[in-house]
């Protein structure tokens, strides 16, 4: 049986995007439970069997669709330069 280890998230980012703190943003797959507990240097918030993870994720994605779109926007803006951010917000204000 394979297991999925879920990495702990940045709580500020999750709050900003309206996502639950333990939403699985970064995960890894492992062949044993012991190996899974050591993933991400132990910085994990959950471990699930792969089958359960895949089953639950499609529902979770639907449930948090809007928040995930917001997360992408937050990530994109955080990658922009100051000038880029100003241009982005001006565009948002006047052209949307």
């Amino acid at each position: 049986m394979k297991y999925v280890a879920v990495k702990k998230n940045d709580p500020k980012l999750m709050k900003k995007c309206g996502l639950p703190e333990n939403y699985p943003l970064t995960v890894s797959e492992h062949f044993s439970l012991e190996e899974a507990t050591r993933a991400f240097n132990g910085e994990i918030c959950a471990i699930e069997p792969v089958e359960k993870y895949n089953r639950v994720m499609s529902d979770l994605r639907k449930q948090h669709e809007k928040s995930l779109v917001k997360l992408e926007r937050v990530k994109r803006i955080s990658q922009m330069s100051l000038l880029g951010r100003i241009a982005y917000w001006l565009k948002e204000l006047f052209f949307k």
Binding site: K2, L25, V27, E29, R61, L68, R76, Q79, S81
Partner: protein, 281 residues
């Protein structure tokens, strides 16, 4: 043992048969009779053992899609990626251009050079965002070289494979190889709606070394097997994008910290999909 006659009416009795058939059928001689083996419904000749050998898949465009970019068709050295009919997504001092400086040896031909300097700049070479997984087995491979490794001052993120990103940011959906400041190894990633399964594979990345990074997605996209330098690694089965998601084939290089120049060299990109049904169904 009688020999087959491929020359039509030229002598030997194989009047109606020619090796140049419309669908690449194969002519064989069984005892004294010539017979034709049809290309079959899958677009390739099945091996007698029943296994589907890679090289036996003949070129039937209704059954497969193959892209091989070796970066040699550009007009001149230093040519932009758009000269190769690839989409150049560049931002904040990102540059994509054909490189002659890293071409060494008689077989190491065209190379695309991705250059980023300003923080958040990016230089991405991509196809149209039209590719979908789940419609048949896909094999991908890119040959890349990192010029200078990430350090505490300067870092960049490489994402090569089937991607959704158009900037330096990490994919929201994709099946791809990544190198970034979070790991000294290449990470194989599957990402669906921003949830990523990331697996660090192989040894630490070495600067100025060529790596062949590949993956194989199974027919219905439920499992992806990564390859490093042709060696298969453990398959991933989580966070594979939905089959309805549109992706582009691309090599993305984005700056994540610092103002120094960082380069990614891309020797080739190979994409091969064997459709599980006909193209138009």
């Amino acid at each position: 043992m009688p020999s087959a006659n491929w020359s039509g009416s030229g002598g030997g009795g194989a009047v109606a048969d020619s090796v140049l058939t419309t669908r690449g059928d194969l002519l064989t001689r069984d005892s004294s009779a010539l017979s034709r083996i049809a290309i079959g419904s899958k677009g390739y000749l099945p091996h007698s053992s029943g296994s589907d050998l890679e090289y036996q898949r003949l070129l039937d465009p209704t059954k497969r899609l193959m892209i091989f970019e070796d970066w040699i068709e550009g007009g001149a050295a230093g040519a932009s990626v758009s000269s190769y009919n690839w989409n150049a997504a560049v931002g904040t001092a990102g540059v994509l251009s054909a490189s002659t400086t890293t071409v060494t040896g008689v077989r190491n031909l065209g190379i695309m050079r991705h250059s980023v300097s300003t923080d958040t700049g990016f230089a991405n070479a991509s196809t149209l965002t039209v590719l979908k997984i789940g419609g048949g087995r896909i094999f991908f491979e890119a040959c890349i070289q990192i010029d200078t490794l990430n350090d505490g001052t300067n870092s960049a993120r490489m994402q090569v494979g089937l991607n959704s990103t158009t900037t330096a940011a990490q994919n929201a959906n994709g099946v791809y190889w990544m190198y970034d400041s979070a790991n000294t190894k290449f990470q194989f990633c599957t990402t669906a709606s921003s949830s990523t399964t990331a697996t660090a594979l192989g040894s630490d990345v070495v600067a100025d070394a060529w790596y062949r990074l590949g993956f194989e997605i199974n027919d219905d996209a439920t499992s992806v097997t990564p390859y490093i330098n042709g060696v298969a690694q453990t398959a991933q089965t989580t966070n594979i994008p939905a089959t309805s998601t549109l992706l582009h084939l691309s090599a993305c290089w984005g700056k994540t910290a610092g103002s120094g120049t960082l380069l990614l060299y891309n020797d080739y990109i190979f994409y091969d999909q064997l459709f599980s049904g006909n193209r138009h169904t």
